[in-house]
Symmetry: C2
Subunit: 329 residues, 2 copies
DNA sequence: CGTCAGTGCGCAATCGTATGCGCAAATTGC
DNA sequence: GCAATTTGCGCATACGATTGCGCACTGACG
């Protein structure tokens, strides 16, 4: 059995409340120096560790923040790894720990929502689709929430300036004289991706590119190859500049090109988005946009902490991105 | 303010204990059907959600398990991503959530240890070095712990059969006639890596390979290139078959070879270890050993749950690995 | 009519800590 | 020497749930 504050009190013939006050350094409560020392010594000797549950229950504060995402953690999703690393960094600064909600199969929306508001955490980071019903439930609740990477309705968010990144890619692509374009988007909906796509479409339209020379293709996350090969199999009006929604998709495309002996960037230009993949991979250096996801997460922690502290926090915090020039454009 | 069980009781003129029993489906406590219905209806109407902290405090069970690792979560560490995905899967089956301990700068060993035993979690997954002082502290404590991927002294572990994987690699390498060997190990100590290295050294020794034809090189995790280039710069007795401790290191080596126009596998054979990196990367197919880290994590959850339930659990659970044949050997 | 089983529910302690308030003893002030 | 203050600490309750035990009432049965 763990040692409690009451054990210390009993041992010294004091009351539990006095022990508690000493251990918390309560200045308003006067205690003799000897008593203080005895309490501290005994606590050390008995290897006392306050019960965090009892403290949280009483204080109304757990020092735990949660992360909910509808995506899977795996090696394919290096984005989440970056976010997680950043959250860990940020949380460490504020002595917070991070609770990952593990949704079980057959859970309902209510189950999930309830698990997120049962008092175990002070605040929540959210990464999901804008139409996830959870978003509405959470924004209507008392919960402190910060959305990560993608803006969500009625919730504060920390994002990257995707639109600017996409603009830089297009400028560069146009400057090099490419004229037939494609954008590879995922099949699921992410606000940031849609923002990139919209920017891409708008700029090309503004520059007078005809609609049939600016195609958007939806790529399934698990099996990208089919779509990519169909794309490359086209003979005559195959796109010459393909902007991919993320680096992984770009790498898949590069591989497909290599297999068909299509020269990059001579015959086709390829660009990615994210820019955190290890450049030590035995791959060519991809032209991409670096999104500072670690910083995004760190910022998000700052905001959530301020939100929990009662401050108002800005609706959207957008971090700048930078173009990484490789040799695929 | 959240609704409590007392609120429901007050609303209905009942006692809080009756409300609690109904909501927990306590069969031994007889209650009229009408009362039961009224309680359930009111709970629904008031959108009641029991406070998890109070429940945990009383029940002595939090349904939270922790993960402690001394490594960073980031895109370079896809191993952790796999583990995390597996833990999430396993936890979901048992309605557990996962608490990531975020160590803050300047924390002492005691701080960390105390944070792990303050009652917030029922058990812990551990991934660290065998000489981490935390290991001894934890194995001496009452905490339920399962080590992940690497065996740790006096703690149950779930691992992969690295030795067998390494044996398969060596058999294949020898069969193809390579005669000068090197093993690339990381600079930090991981039990599983040392096991791979020992197997590698032992088998080569058994097969009569002279010691100077079986070299072990320690590679710094952050800057592998220097070591790799020194290795490749050697002219005459450069190794012809290099076994890397993981896939990332192997990919780095492949890249270094490509830059120096060294043909793989004609001039040098390269093998990896882990086998979960996306084969959609624009890289050649690496010969490697697939370690089922997701399954390892899922197994670990099963064991931890049984340990928490009071069952004795086996000291080491070793999962089989499989050789993935690429074209680099 | 007394008893006994069964029904329906509440009292109160407990988990371990935090904290407002009060009270006795010691000290000070005049 | 008496009041006023200060020192040093404990009582009791709260946080929100779980749970052993007991009590009142009802109906049945002999």
């Amino acid at each position: 059995m763990p040692v409690t504050a009451r054990d210390i009190a009993r041992e010294l013939g004091l009351s539990q409340s006095t022990v508690s006050r000493i251990l918390n350094g309560d200045e308003r409560h006067r205690v003799s120096v000897q008593t203080r020392e005895r309490i501290l010594a005994t606590a050390r000797r008995l290897d006392y560790q306050p019960n965090a549950l009892a403290q949280s229950l009483r204080r109304g504060r757990t020092n735990i923040v949660g992360l909910y995402t509808n995506h899977r953690y795996d090696a394919r999703n290096d984005f989440l790894a970056e976010i997680l690393g950043g959250l860990q960094l940020g949380c460490a600064c504020h002595h917070l720990d991070l609770l990952l909600h593990c949704g079980y199969a057959g859970r309902t929306l209510d189950d999930t929502f309830n698990a997120l508001r049962d008092g175990r955490m002070d605040g929540l980071f959210l990464h999901t689709a804008p139409d996830d019903p959870l978003v509405a439930r959470l924004s209507a609740s008392e919960m402190h929430v910060v959305a990560l990477a993608d803006a969500l309705p009625n919730l504060p968010a920390v994002t990257c300036d995707d639109a600017d990144g996409m603009r830089q890619i297009i400028d560069e692509t146009q400057a090099r004289g490419y004229r037939r374009f494609a954008f590879l988007a995922p099949q699921f909906v992410l606000a940031s991706v849609e923002r990139r796509r919209e920017t891409w479409e708008r700029i090309l339209r503004e520059q007078g590119v005809p609609p049939d020379a600016a195609r958007v293709l939806r790529v399934p996350i698990e099996d990208a190859n089919t779509v990519l090969e169909e794309l490359l199999a086209e003979r005559d009006d195959r796109p010459t500049a393909v902007a991919c929604w993320n680096d992984r998709t770009a790498y898949s495309l590069l591989r497909a090109c290599a297999e068909r002996s299509i020269r990059v960037p001579e015959e086709i230009a390829v660009t990615g988005f994210d820019g955190f993949l290890d450049d030590k991979l035995p791959a060519r250096r991809l032209t991409t946009v670096h999104c500072p996801w670690v910083d995004v997460a760190v910022q998000a922690v700052e905001l959530l902490v301020r939100g929990i502290g009662g401050e108002a926090i800005p609706a959207e915090t957008m971090l700048p991105v930078t173009l990484l020039s490789g040799d695929t454009l």
